[in-house]
C-alpha cells in the first residue's frame, strides 16, 4: 500500500457516467451523476458511502446489469456500451461480481456444484469429469470441500454461502471483480475470514477489485485507494492512508470522525462531526454541490455551481469548492457584493 506505485494500466475507466431511473409521472431518480474515476490493474479500489448513495448502482452499471444513461465506461480500453456476441461473452468472463446477500445470491433450487459450474456451462468451458474436477478445485480454493458440491445452499452458513458466491465468480477466470458489500451481511467473526480469502485470491490470481462497502475500517484494511460517494456523486478519491490522514472533503471528514477507535485510552478520537439534517432525495437533489445542505463549511458559491472533480494533490481527487481557487475567488466577490 505504498504511495504512488508505478501503476500503469488502467483496467477500468469511467468518464462522466450517469445512471438515472425513471419512476413514472416524470420523476427521475438521479442515482448516479457524473462519476469519473479509474481502476488500475491489480489494485483494490474501495467505494464507500451511506446507504442509498448509489454505490451499488455504480457497480451494477459497470457490469452492465444496468445500462448507463450517459457517459462512457471503458474496460481494458474498450467501451462496454455496445458489446455484442463473442465480445460480450468475453466481457462476461473477464468481469464478475460478488453479491451482498449470501441468502439471496444463490439459487435455492440448484446444488452448489451446479451454481459454481454455471459459468462453465454458459461459456461451455468444461463438461463431464472435467467440469466436476473444476468445481471441486474451486470449492477447495474457497476453503470448502468435495462433498459440498451435491448439497443445496440452504444447508450452509452465511460465510460459507458467500464463499460459494466467490467460487462462482472465480469459475470463469475473471480479471476484475466487483464486490458489492460482500461482507455487510455477515457476522464480524466471519467478515475477516471472507476478506482474507479475497486478499489471498487477489495475490494468487492477480485480481483487481472494486470493493463496495459502508464499513470504513474494513475498507481501509483491504483497499489501496478509496472513493467516497454522497448522493450519487463521487466527492473524494485518494490512496487509503492519505484519505484517512488528510481528508479534504467535509463529508469525508464527517464520515471518518464516525469510525470508532477500538482503544478506550486513545486521545486521538477527536471531535465527532455530527451532520445536521437528512440526506436529500435523489429525485430532486440540491443545486450546485449536493452536499451543501448539510455541509458545515458551505459557502454561497456552493449553491450556484457544482464543484469540479479535480486532482488537488498527486493522486488525491476531490470535488469541493474549498479546494478550487476560482471558486474561492468567486466567493470573495459574492461577499464583496
Amino acid at each position: 500500500m505504498s504511495v504512488a506505485e508505478p501503476k500503469v494500466e488502467k483496467i477500468l475507466e469511467l468518464d462522466q457516467v450517469k445512471k438515472h431511473f425513471t419512476m413514472g409521472r416524470g420523476q427521475v431518480v438521479q442515482a448516479v451523476d457524473n462519476i469519473s474515476f479509474h481502476v488500475y490493474r491489480g489494485e483494490t479500489l474501495g467505494l464507500v458511502g451511506e446507504s442509498g448513495c448509489g454505490k451499488s448502482t455504480v457497480g451494477r452499471t459497470i457490469i452492465r446489469l444496468y445500462e448507463a444513461t450517459d457517459g462512457e465506461i471503458k474496460f481494458k480500453g474498450q467501451s462496454t456500451r455496445d458489446l455484442k456476441g463473442e465480445k460480450l461473452k468475453q466481457f462476461n468472463r473477464e468481469m464478475q461480481m460478488i453479491f451482498q446477500d449470501p441468502y439471496a445470491s444463490l439459487n435455492p433450487r440448484m446444488t452448489v456444484g451446479d451454481i459454481i459450474a454455471e459459468g462453465l456451462d454458459i461459456h461451455k468451458m468444461a463438461k463431464g469429469q472435467e467440469r466436476r474436477e473444476k468445481v471441486i478445485d474451486l470449492l477447495k480454493t474457497v476453503g470448502l470441500n468435495e462433498e459440498h458440491a451435491d448439497r443445496f445452499p440452504h444447508e450452509f452458513s452465511g460465510g460459507q454461502r458467500q464463499r460459494i458466491g466467490i467460487a462462482r465468480a472465480l469459475a470463469v477466470d475473471p480479471d476484475f471483480i466487483i464486490a458489492d458489500e460482500p461482507i455487510s451481511a455477515l457476522d464480524v467473526s466471519i467478515q475477516a475470514q471472507v476478506v482474507n480469502l479475497m486478499k489471498k485470491l487477489q495475490r494468487e490470481k492477480g485480481l483487481t477489485y472494486l470493493f463496495i462497502a459502508h464499513d470504513l475500517s474494513m475498507v481501509k484494511y483491504i483497499s489501496d485507494r478509496i472513493g467516497v460517494m454522497y448522493l450519487g456523486n463521487l466527492v473524494e478519491l485518494a490512496e487509503s492512508q492519505e484519505l484517512y490522514d488528510n481528508p479534504l472533503h467535509p463529508y469525508t471528514e464527517a464520515l471518518l470522525s464516525a469510525v470508532p477507535i477500538p482503544d478506550p485510552d486513545s486521545k486521538e478520537s477527536g471531535e465527532r462531526i455530527i451532520l445536521k439534517g437528512d440526506v436529500p432525495s435523489p429525485i430532486d437533489p440540491p443545486s450546485g454541490c449536493r452536499f451543501r445542505t448539510r455541509c458545515p463549511k458551505a459557502m454561497d458559491v456552493c449553491a450556484q455551481e457544482a464543484p469540479k472533480w479535480r486532482e488537488v494533490r498527486p493522486l488525491h481527487w476531490v470535488s469541493c469548492h474549498l479546494y478550487q481557487e476560482e471558486s474561492l475567488k468567486k466567493e470573495e466577490e459574492n461577499k464583496a457584493e
Binding site: F99, N107, R109, N145, H148, F152
Partner: protein, 310 residues
C-alpha cells in the same frame, strides 16, 4: 461470585482450541433437496395426507368403480326404476332404472377429467403469458396486463353460458369454457412471482455470467415460481369441480346419458321429495372431493412455503 471467579482466570486458559478447518466446514446430516423437504413437511400434516389419500381413492374408484358390476352408465331398465336397494344395484337406480353406483363413479371421473383439463389449459396459457409479461416488463407488460384487465372485467358466468350454448357440450367444451377466463388468475400470479424473482441476486449473478434469456427463465426463475403455480393449481381444481357441478345443475352440464357429479345432483334434486337417496350419493362424493382438494392445497402451500404460516 463473579469477581472471585475472574481472579482465577489466567491468560493460559484462553489458548485457541486446536481444531481441523475441514472438520469445522463439514456438514452433518444427509443431503436434503427442496422437494424432499417439501415431502417431509407435507407428510407431517395429517389432514393433507388424508386429503391426498381420499383423492387417490376417489380417482381409483372413478376408473375401477364402473367396471365393478355388470351395468353400464347408460343402460336403462324400466322394470327397476327408483329402487333404493335392488339386488346387485348397490346404490339403487334412478328414474330410468340406471345403476347409480356405476353412474356416480363414472360421473366423478368426468368431473375430475374436466377439472384437470381446465387446470391444464390454465397452465398452458397462464404460465407462459405470466412469464413473458413479467420477464419482458415495460411496454410489453403494460399491454399484456391491459388485455388481462379487459378479460377480468367480463363476468365469467355469462361468458361460460354463452360459450356452452354455442359449443357442443362435451368434456373439452366445458373445460374450455371454464379456462377462458380462468387462466387470467394464473397469469397474474406467475407474473407477480416472476417480477419478484427477476431482481433476486441469484438472477443478477446469472445475468452477469452472461446467461441467455431462456436459461434465466427456465433454470433460475421458473423453478422458483413453480411452488406458487402448484398451489394455485391445487385451488383451481376444486373450483373447477364446483363450477362444473354448478353448470350441470343449471342444465348446462355434459349431455345425457353421460353424467357428471353436477348432472347427477340435478337428477337427484328432481327426485328429492320422493327418493332423497339419489341426491345424497353424488353430493357426498362432491363434498369429499372439494374437501380433500382444499386440505391438500392448504398442506402443499404450507409445505412449499413454510414462511407463509408464521
Amino acid at each position: 461470585m463473579a469477581s472471585s471467579s475472574t481472579e482465577n482466570l489466567t491468560p493460559e486458559m484462553f489458548e485457541p482450541v486446536d481444531s481441523d478447518v475441514n472438520e469445522q466446514e463439514a456438514l452433518r446430516g444427509t443431503r436434503v433437496s427442496f422437494w424432499q423437504d417439501v415431502w417431509f413437511r407435507f407428510r407431517s400434516n395429517k389432514g393433507a395426507l388424508i386429503g391426498m389419500l381420499l383423492i387417490l381413492a376417489i380417482g381409483v374408484m372413478a376408473i375401477v368403480g364402473p367396471l365393478m358390476n355388470s351395468y353400464s352408465y347408460s343402460e336403462q331398465d324400466y322394470s327397476a326404476t327408483n329402487q333404493i336397494f335392488a339386488g346387485d344395484h348397490w346404490l339403487g337406480t334412478d328414474k330410468f332404472g340406471r345403476d347409480l353406483w356405476t353412474r356416480i363413479w363414472y360421473g366423478a371421473g368426468i368431473s375430475l377429467i374436466i377439472a384437470f383439463l381446465a387446470a391444464a389449459i390454465d397452465l398452458i396459457i397462464g404460465v407462459p403469458y405470466g412469464c413473458i409479461s413479467g420477464y419482458c416488463g415495460g411496454k410489453v407488460d403494460n399491454w399484456m396486463q391491459r388485455i388481462i384487465e379487459v378479460l377480468y372485467g367480463i363476468p365469467n358466468l355469462i361468458m361460460m353460458i354463452l360459450l356452452l350454448i354455442w359449443l357442443d357440450r362435451g368434456i373439452f367444451a366445458i373445460a374450455l369454457a371454464m379456462s377462458i377466463t380462468g387462466w387470467v388468475a394464473m397469469a397474474r400470479i406467475v407474473r407477480g412471482q416472476i417480477l419478484k424473482a427477476k431482481n433476486q441476486e441469484y438472477v443478477l449473478a446469472a445475468r452477469s455470467l452472461g446467461a441467455s434469456h431462456g436459461r434465466l427463465l427456465l433454470k433460475h426463475m421458473f423453478p422458483n415460481v413453480l411452488s406458487a403455480v402448484i398451489v394455485t393449481i391445487m385451488f383451481t381444481i376444486p373450483t373447477a369441480i364446483f363450477f362444473e357441478a354448478f353448470l350441470g345443475f343449471i342444465g348446462l352440464g355434459i349431455r345425457p346419458p353421460q353424467a357428471s357429479l353436477g348432472v347427477l345432483i340435478n337428477d337427484g334434486f328432481e327426485m328429492l321429495r320422493l327418493f332423497p337417496y339419489q341426491i345424497f350419493y353424488p353430493a357426498a362424493v362432491l363434498s369429499l372431493l372439494m374437501f380433500s382438494f382444499n386440505l391438500v392445497g392448504d398442506g402443499l402451500r404450507d409445505a412449499l412455503d413454510p414462511k407463509l404460516r408464521r
